[in-house]
Symmetry: C2
Subunit: 614 residues, 2 copies
């Protein structure tokens, strides 16, 4: 736009204007790499060579109307309020249209069909090994799989693909399908990169391949709608500790506004698949608060029972405390509910009351059974005329297990909110803390945080960060009674899955620090998962799980999940321009950074291994 | 007073009033121990039995004048301003009497002779082994020793005691003396308890013994004044790494308003002896900010060159950052001064300039030589007519090494100021952080902090704290490039001394966590140093030094300074009512606390030992 403006406006002589634009590009990106400068120069040159005049008719003659901003089976609220806000007609809404208590309907990103991808993944069932890795890594939850009884597929659309479901869990008459919400896809290609399948006749192809979207659109929409109408697989029949089976669990976080290829959202999505129907989330300021609550729509969703994560966002400086407040409130309400229930002895069925008070909710089955008991209890309460019964009715849901999650980035967890996070860890309370660690302030524009690794360029570390990164994981391990895991989905999805399950089941504070690749790292994010793997293999992102429960059993609580540095740090670092760009600025300094990082990786392994063996 | 008021006022019937007072004592202290209740009851009964009428004459006939509030060789400021404020006549002062820039003259506690001790220590030269431990532990710097040439003592007062100085450092004609500022003594008796000397003829006596003060007063004042007039020993001839010799270094922190027996102040005093002439102190809110800046007097003092610590107090929540600001400012001024000096090449003596720029200030001798060079430089600058020369004159002192200290209690370091402290540790900058760890918010009335040990009673932990204490030391060790020491003067004064010297000389962030006994622990503080020893011996206060410099030399940076748990935790814990009182409240819980503490002590030793051996 700038090029075209100067080319036709005559504000400056044409050649002079173009020269200045290119100078400015050189100045801004010269340090990054010649390639980036060249790409920008090309953009200028191509803009000039494709510049042509469009004549504007004197009068609008088209009969086409603008499409509405939302599509699908719309609720009254989405059609009447959400759509108005998206269309920038919010001023037309009366105050009474806005929820009086500030709560906001969830699961509304599904109605915004952004259609931003040029190419989208297409599934090739013949080559598929049904591993579900594409489903796991998709940052926007646009790739999903289901297993369905064959007879349920009788009315499937003509081009709807499915194959016989593999694995002991499934029946002979059950079919496996992968479908893509192509209108919601961002085209990042992470799914293709992680796919281990190979097309036997065309080995350059995988079991899922990027394909131009437009020709697929009509058929894709029909397939997706049909796919959504199929029932969810019975959770109680799935083994959620297996990566593949975990991906048949319904996601309750979908179609967020995160960047294409985002490394954070797959972790959030996984948490909602595992615990979404009972999650209460305190979300710190940062990327996750933006794509998580990008009003007027929200990606946090709910299942067919109407259950889903309750989500709220607080500040950088107090989010851990905010989440701790959820926990304390829930615990207090539960105590009150138990007291009321005990006080109503004689009026409530004694067996039901005992079953509720003694319930074992350590498994999903236990939680589901408790929910059924609470429904029965509520029915009984309606027939009792007393203040206590009425009060218990409002509190009864607190007798079902809730899963409190405190989520944020490294800027929050390592820096601004760390004082509070530390205080929450020290509290001993049962909360789950998920740090989406991009090693830099992503949302605010790339400032260094204490998680930023040595040698990485960031704002306030323009020559590369000199200090070692803070080892938040080891600092939490020092408490002794905190569950701590350092994970990287791209290095080991099964380790990641184990960590989430262990963290949530631990009855005390848990901290998961999740390596999250990010556009701020400076490379094509379709390689994000590969880079995660390299970060672990070179030793700069040691993965482990520290489970205090093991200590009480007389076992070593520290379980190392990597085998120490196996590749030079350079093989990881120099794929990313945040590290690589130091080389052209100051080769000597760059070499020093590599050596420091290498030394650091070895020292960490020594220390961690040591802790795991004694 | 309350007892007497009710006994004579007739507001309530006499017996009823006394009964209510005793009920109230039972209620307030019953949980603590029967002994405390009895002591309070005795106070009531003794007040009653000693109550007698004082008749007030109709007219004042005495010719005595009130003594002034200050004594000694007073500066104009102390006589004119400080004294007025102490005498509550501050309203009479004009604004112009108050320092315009907010700085406040230091070393003024010496003029307030509080005379609060009933008994004071008296030195017995015959039994003394000249270890200087009494000097080291004195919380108020009222016990001091000097070594002086015999001929300097020719005019000593009649009763001034001295003996031949022991040790290779000293000459044959040098004499050792210990003197007590008995008007400033609080009578805590810590000095007597730590004294290893024994009187051969009366073995119940030590080389220093508490003795009623009044008969000693006149002679004591004369001796003390004379003692102060004796010259300080040449610092360059003392080996400051030896505890004994370190105590001949002049203290620049004296006669503070800290509690009798305070466990914090000996650490501060030690720092001023070692580094006081170049210290800049950022002091967090807490006890140390109260006794450190108890206007109108200040215990922070200066030597005969007018050099002493510059001290300022900031808030709980930002003191580490406040101190980091000192460091950054000093560093920037130094850079500026070096640039100006280099820019004046040709105008300044080249040899002097080179010597200043290349100076090695890693030793005290190096610092003193640099100071002399800077004096020469300032003289040269006066003869140069240029803005740069004038500017350099104002900055030249920054070319001499400064020692930045960030000081506060555990409430600051573990809790409220921890976010900032962590950020400062991560900065890699050369600051020294001293945590005076009383394991509880002392100054604000005994609230639990994250340093409070398991089983200790504190506000917000009225049944004993359930969580494990936070291991701040290990959290700092996780950085890898922070010097960290955990010390307890009562367990090992030489380890403490080593830690202070190593921390200050380390060119990066240093953290010393110093066990500080406190009235909040609930026992007679004359046993403070013994309890410190037991805290280490039972394994609950592991002492160590982690020096990153060793790692660069290929050595293990972790040096363990204790030998693991040697006595049951109960032998330490149950001497203090903060732990002991749980027993009477809930014996079962008390037992559980003991077991948890025992387990924790063993686990810490395992982990620390491990780190020190690999």
């Amino acid at each position: 736009m700038q090029t075209c403006f100067f080319a036709i406006s005559g504000v400056l002589p044409h050649d002079e204007a173009i020269r200045q634009i290119k100078n400015s590009i050189q100045k801004s990106y010269g340090k990054r790499s010649e390639e980036i400068v060249k790409l920008n120069f090309d953009a200028v040159d191509n803009a000039l060579s494709h510049l042509y005049e469009v004549s504007i008719p004197a009068k609008a003659e088209s009969t086409l109307e603008l499409e509405r901003s939302v599509k699908g089976r719309l609720s009254e609220f989405v059609a009447g309020v959400t759509a108005c806000l998206i269309e920038r007609r919010g001023d037309e809404l009366p105050v009474s249209a806005i929820p009086a208590d500030g709560t906001w309907p969830s699961g509304t990103t599904q109605y915004e069909k952004r259609n931003i991808a040029q190419s989208v993944p297409v599934w090739d069932p013949e080559s598929c090994i049904q591993c579900n890795k594409c489903v796991l890594v998709c940052p926007h939850a646009v790739i999903r799989s289901k297993v369905t009884a064959e007879n349920e597929l009788a009315d499937a659309p003509e081009f709807f693909k499915s194959i016989k479901a593999k694995g002991k869990t499934f029946e002979d008459d059950e079919r496996f399908t992968i479908q893509v919400a192509i209108e919601d896809c961002t085209g990042c290609s992470l799914c293709v990169e992680v796919c281990p399948g190979r097309n036997k006749t065309a080995p350059e192809l995988k079991a899922i391949n990027m394909t131009p979207k437009i020709p697929l659109l009509e058929e894709g929409i029909v397939n997706w709608d049909y796919f959504l109408s199929l029932s969810e697989y019975d959770r109680s029949r799935l083994d959620r500790s297996k990566v593949k089976e975990s991906q048949f669990l319904q996601t309750l976080f979908e179609f967020s506004g995160a960047c294409p290829g985002c490394g954070e959202t797959p972790y959030i999505k996984l948490a909602t698949q595992l615990f979404g129907d009972r999650m209460i989330v305190a979300n710190a300021t940062g990327c996750s608060s933006i794509y998580g609550g990008n009003l007027p729509t929200t990606p946090w969703s709910k299942n067919s029972d109407g259950r889903g994560p309750a989500w709220s966002n607080s500040l950088f400086e107090d989010n851990a405390e905010f989440g701790l407040g959820f926990r304390l409130t829930i615990d207090k309400h539960e105590v009150q509910a138990r007291e009321l229930l005990q006080g109503l002895a004689g009026k409530i069925d004694a067996e039901l009351s005992k079953a509720i008070l003694d319930a074992d909710q350590s498994s999903e089955a236990g939680i589901f059974e408790q929910r059924e008991r609470i429904e029965k209890l509520k029915k009984e309460l309606k027939n009792i005329q007393s203040d206590d019964a009425a009060h218990l009715e409002t509190l009864a849901d607190y007798l079902v297990k809730k899963s409190v999650w405190i989520i944020g980035g490294d800027g929050w967890a390592y820096d601004i909110g760390y004082g509070g996070l530390d205080h929450v860890l020290a509290s001993g309370k049962n909360v789950n803390i998920l740090v989406l660690d991009t090693q830099v302030y992503s949302n605010t524009g790339g400032q260094q945080s204490k998680a930023t690794p040595t040698g990485a360029v960031a704002k306030f570390a323009s020559g590369g960060k000199e200090q070692l990164p803070k080892d938040l994981a080891m600092m939490a391990v020092a408490y002794g009674n905190v569950y701590v895991a350092r994970v990287a989905m791209g290095a080991s999805d099964s380790q990641t899955l184990k960590a989430f399950i262990e963290a949530e089941s631990y009855n005390g504070p848990s901290l998961i620090i999740a390596y999250s690749h990010c556009i701020a790292h400076g490379y094509d994010l379709k390689y994000g998962m590969e880079q995660q793997k390299k970060a672990v293999e070179c030793g700069l992102w040691p993965t482990f799980r520290y489970n205090p429960e093991l200590e009480l059993l007389g076992k070593n609580p520290m379980k190392l999940d990597y085998k120490g540095p196996k590749i030079p740090v350079k093989e990881y670092m120099y794929n990313e321009s945040r590290f690589k760009m130091v080389e052209s600025m100051n080769a000597k300094e760059a070499q020093k950074f590599l050596e420091t990082a290498e030394f650091h990786a070895k020292e960490m392994y020594k220390r961690y291994k040591n802790l795991s063996e004694n």
